[in-house]
Structure formats: C-alpha cells, structure tokens
C-alpha cells in the first residue's frame, strides 16, 4: 500500500478509537498504541465492515472510514478493554 501520510495515520487511529476498535491512548502515560494493537484493531474494523483483513490502512479501509455513519461505536468499551486484558 502507498505509504501513509502522518495525517492519514492520525485520522485512522482517531477513527479506530472513536468507534471502539482501539482503547483511547493512556491519558497518564500517554502510552501510544502498540503496532500489534493497531494491526489487530484495523483487522477488527475491516471484518466488521466486510473488507479484506489486511491489517493496514489500505484504500478500501480509508474509504470506508470516510463513509457517512452512525456516531455510536461498533465495539463496546468492555470488548476493547477485555481484548487488551486477554493480551
């Protein structure tokens, strides 16, 4: 996939957090998302959206992220944090 701009990466990470695929970055440590968590979150979003699970912000994924949608998250807090706990 063509290399992403920082802006696209930031938009993607914000989007994943907004709709429940990524737990928000830890406000205390400011700990950023691990690469593995990000890949996992992208795959979950692609699965939910019926896309091929590449684990990267490819064109189809960025396109779907721009589609008008409902504000409510697709994953509940519990699900996101439980997957982190499981890890």
């Amino acid at each position: 996939a063509p290399s992403l701009t920082t802006e696209q990466m930031d938009m993607g990470v914000d989007w994943l957090s907004k709709f429940g695929y990524l737990p928000p970055a830890d406000p205390v440590t400011g700990q950023l998302q691990t690469k593995e968590a990000l890949t996992k979150a992208i795959k979950a979003m692609q699965r939910f959206g019926g896309l091929e699970e590449t684990g990267v912000f490819d064109q189809a994924t960025l396109g779907l992220m721009k589609t008008p949608r409902c504000s409510l998250p697709d994953m509940s807090e519990t699900e996101t944090t439980s997957s982190r706990r499981r890890r």
Binding site: F48, R69, C70, S76, T78
Partner: protein
C-alpha cells in the same frame, strides 16, 4: 455485534420531535413527524412495543436535529462523517434520545446522490433507542455505515436478521408470523395509513348544513387503511385504527378526497380494494378510484366495468374470509374478484343468504377484528369471521358503539333489550360535547 444492550421494561413508549431541521428545503415539520412515526412503526409492527407521540418534555424518546458539539459526548462533525446517534435504553436521562446532525442534507424519497435519507437513518437510530447495537451483517439496517435510501416508508420490510435480534430482546408481536422467511413473506398486509389527516378542524368553521353524527343515517361506511370512515351528505367522520373518533365535527369530503365533482351531494358506497389498497367510491352508475386521497386519471367510469347493473350499488365491502368484494343492491348481492378483476359466476344471489341482514343496506365494511359490519339507518349488524349469519345481540346503535353518542335522540330506535332480555350493555361513552367540553383523541 456489541454485547446485548439493556432493553425497555415498559412496552408503551412516548416520542416527540423537540427540534426540527433548521434549513431543510425539502422536509417540512409534518413530513419529519410522519417519517419518525413510520420509522418507529417499523419496530412496533413486529414487537410488543407501542409508540405514541406526545407534547412536552417528558417523552421517552426525545428527537433533536442539532449540530457539532451538543454536550452529550458525541459531537457531530459537519456534513458527512457521523450523521446521527441514539442512546440505548437504561442510560438515565438520555435513554432513547435520538439526535440527527442538522448539518446533513436530510431528504425523503430522493435519489441517493441528493443527501441523506431521513427514514433509513431513523429506522437505524430507533433500533439503538430500543436496544440494538451495530452489527456487521451485510443485510442489516443496524450496520454502522449509511447505505442509502431504503425505499417507500409505507412498504419497508425489516431485514430478517434485524427481526430476529429484536425478537430476542422483546419477543414477537402477537399478530406477526415469525416463521415467515423474508423471501416467502409477502409485504406486511398492514395497509399504509393515509398520510394527511384532514385539516385541523379548528381552522375550518363547521358549515351550517353539517349533519349530526348521532341522528344521521349514513350514506357509506368503509374501512380505509385500517381506519373507519362514515360518510353523510358532503361530509365524513373518521375513526382511528383503535376506533377513536378523530373529531366530533365532520370534515367536508371535498377538502380531503381530491378530485370528486364539486356538485356531488353524497356517496353511495366506498371500499378499499384488496391488493393495491386503492379506494373506490360509488355514486349512481359511476365510480372513482383513489390512490391515497387523490383520484386517479380517467375517472369517473361506469360501474358496468364490474359487470354491475347501472342502477348503482347500496353497499360494497371486502370479506376478509376470502378477500372477495361483495356488492349489494336492494335484496341482491354480487361477488367480484378484485385480484382477477372479474365478477364470479352465479351472481346475483338473494341477500337472504346473509341471515339476519336487512335489504337496501346503507353500506358494509370489514374491520380489523376480522368481522363484517352491515349498516342501515342508525343501526348495524355484525357477522363474525366466515359466518353468513348475524351474531346474537344485533342490531345495535351505530352512534353509541362507534361515534361517542351518549343517548340516541328521541326519534331514534329505542334501545331494545336483546334476545336474553338484558338491557343493552354497549360501551357507554359520556359525550361532553354538549356541555362545552371538546372530546378529542390523538391519532399518532
């Protein structure tokens, strides 16, 4: 999908559109309210939930059109992006509340490219408001992404996937067959309610010649889109699906049923045609076909189209038992197949085959209790299901049972004791109209 959400403990939920789209060029307030009504009806048709519109700030489901950050933790983001959201049941004050982004171009019956179909988004959001979360199922209305218009609100059929999930929350509404698969199930028989209610009575002063509903002998009576219409002269009264009179004052036929000749002084018979739910009016040897409340091109035509004699008809109704249309004139009746559009063989027959029914009827109609009702003078007769014999205890007075008349006028037939000799025990509505009260009923 998200883990199953909370659900409403109660079954009767109130709703209200608190704020409307500000700049909408295409959606007036009445259309927005009607679309909300139909989007909620999608869910109440198949579950034991009932929605009713209220005024004031106590509605369970408060609906707002708002923009950007509106202090609920889900700020909107201008045109596109996030377009709406709703709160799940059980979330304290906001439970059920539904917000639409007023920066979107909300449309109704427009092609996809012209904006956001309000009905489609509202069905989705009300799914949240009753407890459904997002799902990845391709067919589902609860997918998080906007998928364009879903067609005519009056004919919309929920994807089976969504029916199953909401049945898991609330169970099935009695009248719904939950075994029918979407491919096999015909569209819900529930005929669409006529969208426009007659103008607000208070803006139209009653004319001098308006008839009195408690002393009238009606020209025609019909169930139209689930509601009852009583016609007299140039006027009619309307009752909602649960038999509530919409207004004590009759409405002028001409003001609602568009396209009848201005000099028409009364109607002979009316019925709603099975299949396409169009409405047929008869007067003398002519008839008119209406789509909703507007007459179609090319009418009036002669009733010989049905194979009926040109003397006209007294009564017309569709028997729920066989979905055939019955026409009555004097002491004869005909059976017509509206699906094949031809008269059945061997007719006319003598009305005495309908035991207990008088000849020269004023009209007849089917009702949502699956019974058939026959009207003549100020009385009516009831025939249950597939019987052809009047039920015991009839005739009964139309005014008391249907039109909130307290005591029939002196010249009306006295309230006879029925066969068992007991005093008539019909529903007694106290009619406050005389002493200054206005009896009114909510119809949505």
């Amino acid at each position: 999908a998200l883990s199953p959400q909370k659900k409403w403990a109660k079954r009767h939920l109130s709703w209200r559109v608190r704020t409307f789209p500000k700049e909408s060029a295409v959606l007036g307030r009445e259309t927005v309210r009607a679309l909300m009504y139909y989007a909620l009806k999608v869910w109440s048709d198949i579950t034991p939930l009932n929605f009713h519109e209220v005024a004031g700030n106590k509605a369970d489901i408060q609906i707002d059109f708002t923009k950007a950050d509106h202090n609920d933790g889900y700020p909107f983001d201008g045109p596109g992006g996030t377009v709406a959201h709703a709160f799940f049941p059980g979330e304290r004050f906001t439970a059920g509340d539904t917000h639409f982004d007023d920066d979107e171009a909300w449309t109704f019956r427009s092609p996809d490219s012209h904006g956001m179909d309000l009905f489609a988004v509202a069905v989705h959001e009300f799914g949240h408001a009753i407890g459904l979360a997002h799902t990845s199922a391709i067919e589902s209305i609860m997918r998080p992404y906007y998928q364009g218009p879903v067609g005519d609100p009056l004919k919309y059929d929920l994807p089976y996937e969504d029916k199953v999930r909401v049945w898991q929350l609330y169970g099935v509404r009695d009248s719904v067959s939950h075994t029918a698969r979407p491919d096999a199930s015909s569209h819900t028989d529930d005929p669409p309610v006529l969208m426009d209610l007659p103008e607000n009575k208070s803006t139209v002063p009653p004319a001098r010649d308006a008839p009195d509903r408690c002393t009238s002998q009606f020209d025609a009576v019909a169930q139209i889109r689930g509601e009852a219409f009583f016609f007299k002269g140039k006027y009619f009264w309307r009752l909602t699906r649960d038999r509530h009179l919409v207004s004590l004052r009759p409405t002028q036929i001409q003001r609602f049923w568009r396209g009848l000749p201005a000099n028409l002084d009364s109607i002979d018979a009316v019925y709603e045609r099975p299949g396409d739910h169009k409405i047929v009016f008869f007067k003398g040897m002519k008839y008119w076909v209406f789509k909703d409340n507007i007459v179609e091109e090319g009418y009036p035509r002669l009733i010989s189209d049905f194979g009926l004699p040109i003397e006209g008809v007294d009564a017309a109704f569709v028997w729920m038992h066989n979905d055939k249309t019955y026409f009555f004139k004097d002491n004869h009746y005909w059976r017509y197949d509206d699906h094949l559009r031809h008269m059945d063989q061997g007719y006319p027959k003598d009305t005495s085959l309908w035991k207990g029914i008088p000849s020269q009827l004023d009209d007849a109609m089917r009702w949502s209790d699956s019974a058939s009702y026959f009207f003549k003078g100020k009385e009516y007769w009831r025939v249950v299901g597939s019987d052809m014999e009047v039920e015991a205890g009839y005739p009964r007075p139309i005014g008391i049972d249907w039109l909130i008349c307290k005591d029939m006028q002196s010249d009306a037939p006295e309230t006879r004791n029925n066969e068992t000799g007991s005093q008539l025990t019909g529903q007694h509505h106290t009619d406050h109209a005389e002493n200054g009260y206005e009896v009114c009923s909510c119809t949505s």
